[in-house]
Amino acid sequence: MSQRVVDQSSILHRRQLSRRDFLTYMWLAAAGLLAAEGGIGTVASLWPRVQAGGFGGKIRAGDVDDFPLGSLTYFKEGRFYISHVEAGLLAFYRKCTHLGCVVPWRPDERSEDNLAPQGRFNCPCHSSIFDRYGLVHAGPAPRPLDIFPITIDGGLVIVDTGTIIQRAGFKESQVAKV
């Protein structure tokens, strides 16, 4: 008789959650939920409201004739370069794709492309070298310079600095045909 009672209670314990355990789990779940809400809420309220740092609109760079073949023009406010390669125009974001240093154009250094004898980008941070196509010739940069889309409207060159395009190499489709 007593044996049966014990058996039943042990079965009950195994199958059913005791009220105490249930309440413990609920408390833990509530605490976890609270912590998660707090964490997510904090991150959400601290999440930056500004997109892109000031620049980010469409910028008129000038007339097509302002950029002869092989030339490189720097737009400080727009944070980009315009390069005229054989296929057409490219607009490079000035940030090194390695660690974000501003890549200065060096007109006097030996060229790494066949468009001109001199001129290339030398990153001062980890000495990555880029050519007029934005391609990497030395250093640790993992991909070519990022580009902005260019539209040419009646001879006027317009660069959309709101869209940063990452690329693996140079393709004809990246240029704006002149």
């Binding site: 991150v43 500004v50 892109a52 660690l99 974000g100 200065p104 001062p124 000495s127 640790p140």
Partner: protein, 516 residues
């Protein structure tokens, strides 16, 4: 003489100028509940009754007080943190974290504020000193086996204290808003951007924008003055508390103590322990207690201790004073650097991080940024954290370098690592891996560096294999490898990297390439 006597040899004078006048009154005795700690009882009470002293034990092992065991490195780090809090709070009165004002405020601080330059120097050099001392403290704890059972958890807290110290230094580095700050933080946060999957989001959240600017300055300021110091303070509290709970500083087990059993037979004046545990030749011995350990503790006080007052406290005072004196002299001699105001259009050449991050920056020259900036440091931190759970043999706790073989490990691992690293850096500079294999990117970026790392790790084992090292000795060899790598890369990055981060001799560095 007579005049002096007349003044001093009377009741009024004697009543005024004696210690009892100060201590024998209700006010004093309401604050200090024990007499002057000249007896063991009062020396115990002075520790127990004071909030500020009670983190100390009443009695401390003689071994703990040996300068050559700890070199006071943890204490020095703690005092430097104290200096940083005090000078930091003073600096907060004179600094506004906004792009318009930050740089001007620093210039005004240096040129117009009384002792302003000194204040800034103290803060800057104390921060650098703290990074160095925390690192050296970690070396001390490792090489003496202080991370072993039961101190595993405190070692982990120590690892986090080291990381937070680095983050504190890093966030503070942006605040002067000069070219040095701007580009060091640009490079540093770009590394965060290479965390797989979440990287760009983390960087965006950290900076509050796509590039370093006003939001980044404010965020770093808040992290630097409140968030990180609070966490650091809490962790320091736990760290100290755990020292007590884990049985004080690590020390060799009694078996390894060279003292003969008659160790307490020492001259009466030095016999602090003697008063409590007198050596009595007429004494008969019986089995009183079974304790852990392998040698009889007859006629020794438990663990050979002395009272903390004054034996430990005098060291703390001396080390504290020493830190302040050294820091003051250093700060009077050397000014903290300040370049031109931050200019997002022009990157400094070379753009260098503070010296303690140049090891990381050196790695970035040679491999994929995710590997150099995230995975390698991450793996190292992980290795440090799991280390105490792998190495469980407690036989050599408290012995520098564990054993004779351990010392050989340190020597040969240092030589091996030095030769290999310098060779690799020279190779990548003058032959260049990327000029041999540049495509596909995964080869020079990932496969070759990872392969070389594994070859170097395996090679070190081949070097040390002939001494048949124990697990602990193997760990000593690899830890030494890590330390030497850290040091060599830091040195190369600091004084051998010039324009475009190319190798340069230290005396040919361009102006501005060497900055602390």
């Amino acid at each position: 003489m007579k005049v002096v006597d007349r003044i001093t040899q009377n009741r009024t004078w004697k009543a005024l100028f004696r210690i009892e006048t100060v201590t024998q009154n209700r006010v004093w005795q309401s604050i200090f509940r024990q007499g002057y700690p000249s007896t063991d009882e009062n020396r115990a009470k002075v520790i127990l009754n004071s909030l500020f002293f009670h983190i100390h034990p009443v009695r401390v092992r003689k071994h703990t007080l040996k300068v050559t065991y700890t070199y006071g490195l943890g204490l020095i780090s703690f005092f430097l943190f104290g200096v940083l809090v005090v000078t930091g709070i003073l600096l907060m009165f004179m600094y506004v974290p906004s792009v318009d004002r930050a740089y001007d405020d620093i210039q005004i601080l240096q040129t117009s504020v009384t002792f302003g330059m000194l204040l800034r120097n103290l803060h800057r050099w104390a921060a650098h000193g703290m990074v160095l001392m925390v690192f050296l403290h970690m070396l001390r704890v490792f090489y003496t086996g202080g991370y072993k059972t039961p101190r595993e958890f405190n070692w982990i807290i120590g690892v986090f204290l080291f990381l937070i110290t680095l983050f504190l230094s890093f966030t503070g580095y942006l605040l002067p808003w000069d070219q040095l700050s701007y580009w060091a933080i640009t490079v540093g946060t770009n590394i965060a951007g290479y965390v797989p999957m979440l990287g760009e989001k983390i960087r965006f959240f950290l900076l509050g924008a796509k590039e370093v600017g006003e939001p980044a300055l404010l965020r770093f300021y808040v992290l630097h003055v409140i968030f990180l110091p609070t966490i650091l303070t809490l962790l320091i509290a736990v760290h100290f508390w755990r020292i007590r709970k884990d049985g004080g500083l690590s020390a060799p087990s009694p078996k390894a103590t060279p003292d003969p059993p008659m160790a307490l037979n020492i001259p009466p004046n030095n016999g602090d322990a003697r008063t409590i545990f007198p050596r009595d030749p007429r004494k008969t011995y019986g089995l009183m207690e079974l304790v852990r350990g392998t040698s009889p503790m007859v006629e020794k006080g438990p663990e050979d201790t002395v009272t903390s007052w004054p034996n430990l406290l005098i060291w703390e005072v001396l080390i504290g004073l020493g830190v302040i004196v050294a820091l003051l002299i250093w700060s009077l001699v050397l000014n903290a650097p300040l370049r031109e105001i931050a200019n997002p259009d022009v990157t400094e050449n070379p753009a260098k991080a503070p010296w303690y991050f140049l090891n990381l920056q050196e790695l970035l020259l040679h491999m994929n940024p995710t590997l150099a900036g995230v995975l390698v440091p991450g793996a190292l931190v992980l290795a440090l954290i799991i280390l105490p759970y792998l190495d469980r043999d407690r036989a050599d706790v408290g012995i520098w370098f564990a054993s004779k073989i351990g010392k050989k490990m340190v020597l040969w691992s240092s030589i091996y690592t030095t030769v290999a690293l310098i060779g690799l850096v020279l190779f990548d500079e003058y032959v260049r891996v990327r000029s041999l294999v540049s495509q596909p990117e995964i080869l020079p970026g990932w496969i070759i560096p990872v392969g070389l790392m594994f070859i170097l790790i395996a090679g070190l084992y081949l070097v040390i294999y002939r001494w048949r090292p124990t697990l602990r000795e193997i760990f000593i060899a690899y830890f030494t490898g890590f330390v030497v790598t850290y040091l060599i890369l830091t040195i190369i990055g600091t004084v051998f990297r010039g324009l475009g981060m190319h190798l340069t001799l230290p005396w040919q560095l361009p102006p501005g390439a060497f900055t602390l």
